[in-house]
């Protein structure tokens, strides 16, 4: 297997319950670990060989810190999401499986429209967008674009771009790289819930200029970033989520259009994937003796349900009012009528 070939599938293992994790899952002993690929917030990824067929897989060992609550919430969402995703650039799930490539789906969840408030402490600190650091709970796809910017910068720099240790340190590093946020470039950022936890008036938090150009042109081992590459990182690392580059804008960016090598049709770089289906298995339900009528406790639920739904109705209204209050930024001109790359059109046929 050559080094650039991607690990094509991932198998989940859970450290403290090696053999009986899930009925359909084989014991971890069926796989021989070859090496450690990487470590994320939620687990360690190994390159491994499936002894039954000699295929190379990625094995992700999930951390089970709060084992009292069963499968960790992040793992549950990650597995569920990855099972639905099917794309050559996303690791394919093989058994009860999780994946970690450049993308981390640890807290991926399906969007709802309009979005509801989400779990506050998300994303590995290094890739966390400033609005999340400041406690924004209605974060959007723009926060992911920030993470993409951090990772793209990391590839250019050959080292993590913003390796913060704790939240305040993370913000210091952001400011050291980009200069401090102001009301002009990021209106009303001081109104975000946690903004008062950060002392923006200290010298460390006051820096007028961006140093990103210097950082990315003199890097350890990496070639200096081209002007277009630099521009793409800068457009992704914009403080105000509303002004940050979006996915379609990024695809149209001059980095991809003016600078070689050009994007090519995905089929030209197609990777081979092998698939495998999980079978059935024994379980704890089914059969068994029927002892009495169980201990279901019913009663009085309908009235409560109605009350609850009425309450929710009110919340929904408040919520809608709240998101309607988000300031419209007229200066921000979203490109309309996005035209995809010609090359991508070819792939559709």
């Amino acid at each position: 297997m050559n080094a650039t070939q991607r690990l094509t599938s991932v198998t989940l293992s859970v450290s403290d319950t090696p053999s009986n994790f899930i009925g359909t899952c084989r014991p971890v002993d069926d796989f021989e670990k070859v090496g450690r690929v990487g470590e994320g917030t939620y687990g360690i990824v190994y390159k491994a060989i499936d002894k039954s067929n000699q295929k190379t897989v990625a094995l992700k060992r999930m951390r089970m810190e709060r084992e009292a609550d069963g499968l960790p919430l992040s793992a549950l969402r990650e597995i569920s999401l990855l099972r639905r995703l099917s794309h050559t650039n996303i690791v394919r799930v093989m058994e009860v499986c999780v994946g970690q490539d450049l993308a981390d789906f640890g807290l991926a969840r399906q969007f709802s429209v309009p979005p509801c408030p989400m779990t506050p402490k998300v994303v590995t600190l290094w890739y966390r967008a400033p609005e999340i650091l400041l406690g924004e709970r209605l974060y959007t796809e723009a926060s992911d674009m920030w993470s993409a910017g951090c990772i793209f910068g990391e590839l250019l720099k050959n080292a993590p771009l913003l390796p913060g240790k704790v939240e305040p340190h993370q913000f210091e590093l952001i400011i050291a790289l980009l200069g401090n946020p102001t009301e002009r470039i990021w209106p009303s950022f001081r109104d975000l819930p946690l903004a008062n936890l950060f002392r923006f008036d200290t010298p460390k938090m006051q820096q007028q200029y961006s140093t990103i150009k210097q950082v990315l042109s003199s890097s350890n081992g990496a070639a200096a970033a081209s002007p277009q590459a630099l521009e793409l990182v800068q457009d992704l690392l914009v403080y105000d989520p509303k002004r940050r580059l979006d996915t379609r804008g990024a695809l149209r960016h001059s980095y991809f259009r003016r600078e070689g090598p050009n994007p090519c049709i995905p089929s030209a770089i197609r990777l081979r994937f092998d698939s495998r289906s999980g079978g059935g298995g024994g379980g704890i339900f089914g059969g068994g003796s029927s002892a009495g009528s169980g201990n279901l406790r019913g009663g009085g639920a309908i009235a409560n349900l109605r009350k609850k739904l009425e309450g929710e109705q009110q919340q929904g209204q408040d919520f809608r009012r709240k998101i309607r209050r988000v300031d419209r930024d007229e200066d921000f001109d979203l490109p309309v009528g996005a035209r995809p790359f010609r090359q991508f059109d070819l792939d559709e046929k």
């Binding site: 009860v96 704890i284 068994g288 279901l296 009663g299 639920a301 009350k307 998101i323 419209r328």
Partner: protein, 186 residues
């Protein structure tokens, strides 16, 4: 291939007003809903699963759901969590024969899973055990969780009717009466 949508005469672009509002995802919203409609079909339980169950009857499902609604109410969970819970139960019962003594375990476990999936902060396993009147142990719920998830192959991406209602509500300018009636019917 991306195409500019063409609207019939008298029909407005529903998302034009959101072009400047990243919270409304106007860029992706049409694709998201097309996908959700596809998902909805995939997530349908077998409507006749009770015929394959040996010990269960529809009336027992009623009691179970009423009880879960009670718990849902006490935990103050999101409506999405309840809909996902019921969907997990029905899909699981479409695939496995369950004894009556285990029905409540299926119910509580489904809600435990749904809460983890949907809630910002999910109730702990201890909370659920308390609600089940200590009828099940921590270990039983954890094993049930793994089993339910493996039977459903971790497919929890159920597009709840709430999402569709929100979309319809938007299309008719948030008429409060229609919206409330819609919610009541759900």
């Amino acid at each position: 291939v991306m195409m500019e949508p063409v609207y019939p005469e008298g029909v407005d672009d529903l998302d034009a007003e959101d072009a400047c509002d990243p919270m409304m995802l106007s860029e992706y919203v049409v694709e998201i809903f097309e996908y959700m409609k596809k998902l909805e079909v995939e997530c349908m339980p077998n409507p006749n699963y009770m015929e394959s169950q040996k010990e269960l009857k529809w009336s027992m499902r009623d009691i179970l759901i009423d009880w879960l609604i009670d718990i849902h109410n006490k935990f103050r969970l999101l409506p999405e969590t309840l809909y996902l819970t019921v969907n997990i139960i029905d899909r699981f019962l479409s695939l496995r024969v369950v004894s009556l003594v285990k029905l409540q375990l299926v119910g509580i476990t489904s809600m435990f899973i749904a809460a983890k999936y949907e809630e910002v902060i999910a109730p702990s396993i201890k909370n659920f055990i308390y609600m089940a009147d200590n009828g099940y142990t921590d270990e039983e719920i954890q094993r049930a969780e793994r089993y339910v998830l493996s039977v459903l192959e971790f497919n929890l991406q159920y597009p709840s009717s709430m999402s569709f209602l929100r979309r319809c509500s938007k299309a008719e300018n948030y008429n409060i009466q229609t919206r409330t009636l819609g919610k009541y019917l759900m």
